[in-house]
Amino acid sequence: MTAAAPEPKANMGQPVPRYDAVAKVTGRATYGSDMPLDNPAYAFLVTSAISKGRINSFELDDAKRVRGVIDIVTYQNAPKLKESKLFSNGGYAGTTIQPLKSADVAHDGEIIAVVVAESYEAAREAANRVKVSYTAITPAASFDSPGTTKAAAKGQNGQFKEDPQVGDFAKAFDEAEVKLTASYDTPTQHHNPMELFSTSCVWMGDDLVIYEPSQYVYGLKNGVAEQLGIDADKVRVVNPYVGGGFGSRGSMTPRTAIIAGIARRLNRPIKLVPTRDQGFTIATYRAETRHEIKLGASRDGKLVALRHEGAEVSSRADPYCVGGTKTTTRLYACPNVDSLVSIVRADRNTPGFMRSPPEVPYLFALESAMDELAVKLNMDPVELRRVNDTINEPIGGKPYTSRALMACFDEAAKAFGWAQRSAAPKSMSDGDWLIGYGCAATCYPTQMAPSAARVRLQRDGRTRVEIAGHEIGTGAYTIIAQTASERLGVPLEKVSVFIGDSDLPPAPVAGGSNSTASTCSAVMMVCDQVRQRLFKALMPNESLTDKAKETVGIGQTPTTQAAKSDRPLDLEKAFDALGVGVVEEYGEWKPEGAPLDSFKAMHSGHARLVGGAAMKDKIAYAFGAEFVEVRVNRFTHEIRCPRLVGAFAAGRILNPRTARSQLMGGLIWGMSSALLEATEIDERTARYVNDNFADYLVPVNADVPGVEVILISEQDDHINPAGAKGLGELANVGTNAAICNAIYHATGQRIRKLPVRLENIEV
C-alpha cells in the first residue's frame, strides 16, 4: 500500500489501479476530438465582443477570400433549430439563449458566426478576418450594476422549491445571548476542464453521431434531437473519456445542435474545437453570490437562531440558482431558522453547475460565520461544531441516515496537530511568515438516480458491463469493473466495461456525485439477475425465495453490503445446465423514493435525482472536516497553504485509491477557490477579462506541498444497495472557509470575500 493506494478499512473495497490508467498515460485514450473522422470540415467560432445589443452588419469578404473556406454561418443563414427548455424547467439546455437566431446579442462571447473550412488553420484565419459592426447597449454586469432586477428564487426556478424555515427566528435572534451578523461574497468562477468544449458531428444518412465531452450522453442525445426536430433514436453521443467536467458538461450547450445542423446542411462531418477563452462564454460558469448570515447562540455555544440569506446572479433569460440554504439550514441543531434565496438578473450568460454548486458558496458563508461565532464565544471552533452536532436535521426533524461529522473532526484534528494551535490570533509564526490554523466542516448530499445496465457473462468468466455512464476522471470504469467482479465473483481482469455511449443502457448525469451510487447499484442488481438465471439452471426445483437468493453466489462473498453466499456456484456446470454459451441480462434500477415517471424520464434524458434533504422521512449526507495551515508573509502579504488535511466519511468506499484522488483534488480545488480563482468582469462592458490560463489562476505544484486525505470507515444501509455516498463534490466544500478561518488566526483579520489576495491582508 502507498499513499496513493490507502489500506482499505472496514467497508472499503480494494485500491486497485485505474482500469484506464495505462490507456491514459500512454495517450491511447481517445477523447472526443481525437476521434478519427472521414474527410471532416473544421469549424471555428466567432463570438461577440459586446454583451448586449445588436449586430448591424458583418463584413465577410475578407474572410471568404481565405483559401479553403467553405461557409460562414451567421444568424442570416443559420440552420433553423427548435428551442429547448432549461434543464431545471423540464428541458435539456444549460441556457435558453440560443445564438444565431437573430441579430441580438445577450451576453459576452455569444456565438455570432461559425466559419467552416477545409482546415482548422483556414477556419481560424478566416474567423480572425470576420468584421462585425454592433450597436452596443450599456449592459448590467453584476450585483451592483444599474439595471439588474432581483426577485425571490422560489416560484421562478423549478428546482428551488423551498426557503427552509422553522420556529421563530426573529424572536430567538432578538433574545440570543450572543449574536453575529456577517456578509460574505463569492466570485464568478469557471470550470476550465482540461479538455476544450469540442464537438464533432457526423451524419450517416438520417443518423447523427456526436463526439463530445459530455457528463450526460442521454441528456445531450435527447436535447440535440429535440433541437433538430428528429427522433432521439437517430442520435448517438459517444465519449469514452471526458477530460474533466466539474459540471460544465452536465447540460446541453447551444454549440452542439448548431454544429450538427451545419454538418447536415453541408453533408460532411464537422469538427469544432473552440479556444480556451471561448470556453469561458459558450458554456456555463459559477455565478457570483452574496450572503448574509445571522447567528444567535447561548453562552455555552448552542445555536438558538440561524438565518441565511443568499443572492445569486443569473442571466436575463433564465432563473438559474443553486440555493444552498437547503443544506446550510439543516447542518446544525437549531430550533429557529429562517432563509431566503434571491436571483439577480444581469446581462450575462446563464450560469450552471460547478462542482458542489450549492454547497461551495453557501457553506463558505456558514462555516466562516461559525468560526466568527466561536471567536465571540471564546470557544474552540471544533467544540462549537460538537455542541451543535445533531442526528436530526432541524427543519423537518428527519434523521440523518448516518452522520460522522464529529468523527471526521476528531480524526483530522489529530492528524493535523490541532492541539498544538495557540488560540490567539497572530500568535504563531516562523521567520517572515505568520502561521494560521483553521478548520471547517464539509458536507455533500447523498444522491441517487435511476440507472440501467447490461451484463453479459461467458462460460470462461469473461464479463462485459455496458452502461452509459461517464468517465470524467473520477474512476467510473474502475469501480464499475470492481463492482461486477465482486458481485459475480469473477476475476477483475476478466471484466470489460463500456461506458460513455448513448447506445448503451441509460445512466444518469454524472453530476451531483450520484454516479457511483446509481451506476454501481444498477450493475449489482443486473449481476444478481445473471446469478439468478444460473441458479435456476442448476437448481430448477428450488424456488427463488429471499433465502435462496442469498445463497446464489458464483464465488467469494460479493461485498460486505451484499448478500453472503455460502454456496459457491460452479460456472461451467451452470452453463452446461443452461445449455448456452453466454448469459446476458439487462435491468433498470431505481432508488427508493424515485418518482413514478423515473424510468421513462431516464430514457428521455432527464435524470430524476433523489436523496439529500429531499427524501421523505430521512436525510442523507456525506460529511468531512478540513484543517489547513496558512502562512502569510509579513512583508509581501503573500498567502500560501502548505498543509491541507481532510477526513471524510462517505459510506462504502468502493476504491480507496480513486476516492482519495477525488478528495485530494477537491481539497486542492478548494484552496484554489479560496486564494486564486476568480473570473474578472469588466464592469463597463460585462465582459470577462482574464479568460485564459495565464490570467485565471489555478494552483501549480509548488502551491500544494502537503495534502492529506483520511478515509473514515462508515457503513450506511439506508441509502442505496451500493452503500455509497457520493464524494466527488465533498472535499472542495469546506476549504474556502477553513482557509479564511486560518487567515484570521494568522493575522487577526477576518476576510469575507473570495478569493483572498495579498492586497486584502493588512498586517
Partner: protein
C-alpha cells in the same frame, strides 16, 4: 493566426539583411513585417492570439553557436542573447557572483518555458495586459494606436503605477530585465552597420504618447549579447506574486549592494511588476549610498522609490506592497552571508 513565411538564418549578416528588407518606413518594430524568432514563447503566443501578425518569421536559433555563450570569467559577465533562461539560472558561478541574475531567471515562468526561452527574447517580451492580448477589445493604444486604453478604467490590478502615461499603463512583465538595469548592464546590438553597444537602460521606452513603440531597437537590429560589469555577490531578487511559482510579479525588487565596513558604498535598486519599463530606482539608491544600514533607512529608500507612483482603481495596493518588497529585499541583501 495568419499565414506567414518561415526562414532559418545561418549567420548574423543574413539575419540582419532579411529583417531589414522587410522593414517599412515609420512602422514600429512591434509591427514590423518580419520578426525574429528565438524560443517563440512570446512571439508564437501573440501570433495565435492574432495580436502580432508578421508576414515573415526569421528563425535565429541557428546563430546560437556564437550567440549563446556564457562567460562569467573576468571582471564582467557576458551572456549571449540566445542563451536559455534555464542554463543561465543554473550556472554555478552566476549563482555565486550574481545571485540577482540567477534568481530573476529562476523565479520566472515555468521550467518548460525557461528551457525554451532565450535571454534576448526575454527582455523583448511584451506586456501581459489582458486587453492588449485580446483583440476583441478595440481600445488599446499599444495595439491600435489612437484607439484609447481599455485598462485605464477597466480591470487593472496587474497594471503599472510607475512610468505610466494617459495613453497606456501596461506593466513591463519580465524579471531578468530588473537585474540587468540594476547592474548597469549594456547590450550588444548587431545591425546593418555591424555591432554596437548600448546601455541596457536605453533599450526600453516608456509609453508616453506612443505606447506602440516599446524599445529603441530598429527593424533589422538584433540583440546579440548582454554584458554586466563587476561582480555582485551581495544581490537579491525578491518577487511577490499570487502563486508560489509560474506567475508574474505583482511587485519585485532587484537589489545589489556593496557594503564596506558597515557602510553602503554602492547600492542598486530596480523594480519589477510595478512599472511600464524596467525601472531603476535611483532616488532610493542615492539615499542608501554612504549610509549605514538600518530598517528606517530601508523604509526611506523604499518610500523614495515610489514617490512618483500613481495607482488606478485596482492596482493602488502595489505602491504599499512595492515599498515593503524593496525594504525587505534591502534587509535580505544586507544580511546575506557572502
Amino acid at each position: 493566426m495568419r499565414p506567414f513565411s518561415y526562414q532559418r538564418v545561418t549567420d548574423p549578416d543574413m539575419a540582419v539583411q532579411v529583417l531589414s528588407a522587410a522593414a517599412a518606413a515609420n512602422n514600429p518594430l512591434t509591427k514590423a513585417a518580419a520578426q525574429p524568432l528565438a524560443g517563440g514563447t512570446t512571439l508564437i503566443d501573440l501570433m495565435k492570439l492574432d495580436v502580432m501578425r508578421p508576414a515573415a518569421i526569421v528563425d535565429i536559433n541557428p546563430l546560437s553557436e556564437g550567440w549563446s555563450a556564457v562567460d562569467p570569467g573576468g571582471e564582467s559577465l557576458r551572456l549571449g542573447a540566445l542563451a536559455k533562461m534555464s542554463d543561465v539560472a543554473a550556472h554555478d558561478e552566476i549563482q555565486r557572483n550574481y545571485p540577482v541574475v540567477a534568481n530573476s531567471l529562476k523565479l520566472a515562468a515555468s521550467a518548460q518555458l525557461r528551457n525554451m526561452a532565450t535571454l534576448g527574447g526575454n527582455v523583448m517580451q511584451r506586456t501581459r495586459c489582458s486587453y492588449f492580448r485580446d483583440v476583441s477589445y478595440e481600445n488599446c493604444n499599444k495595439r491600435n494606436p489612437g484607439s484609447g486604453c481599455a485598462a485605464m478604467d477597466g480591470v487593472n490590478r496587474m497594471h503599472a503605477v510607475l512610468g505610466t502615461s494617459d495613453q497606456c499603463i501596461a506593466t513591463y512583465p519580465g524579471d531578468f530585465a530588473q537585474a540587468l538595469i540594476a547592474l548597469d548592464a549594456s547590450i550588444e546590438i548587431t545591425g546593418r552597420s555591424g555591432t554596437r553597444s548600448m546601455p541596457f537602460a536605453e533599450l526600453h521606452k516608456a509609453p508616453g504618447n506612443t505606447p506602440e513603440i516599446e524599445t529603441t531597437l530598429q527593424p533589422g537590429e538584433l540583440i546579440s549579447a548582454f554584458v554586466i560589469p563587476g561582480r555582485w555577490p551581495r544581490s537579491v531578487y525578491l518577487k511577490a506574486r499570487d502563486r508560489q511559482s509560474y506567475e508574474f510579479a505583482l511587485s519585485s525588487a532587484a537589489v545589489a549592494l556593496d557594503v564596506q565596513d558597515g557602510t553602503i558604498s554602492d547600492a542598486r535598486v530596480a523594480l519589477g511588476g510595478v512599472a511600464t519599463v524596467p525601472w531603476r530606482a535611483r532616488e532610493a539608491e542615492a539615499l542608501l549610498k554612504g549610509q549605514r544600514f538600518d530598517d528606517a533607512l530601508a523604509q526611506r529608500a523604499a518610500d523614495a522609490a515610489f514617490a512618483d507612483a500613481r495607482g488606478r482603481q485596482h492596482n493602488g495596493f502595489k505602491i504599499a506592497l512595492g515599498k515593503r518588497v524593496v525594504a525587505r529585499a534591502l534587509q535580505q541583501a544586507v544580511t546575506m552571508e557572502i
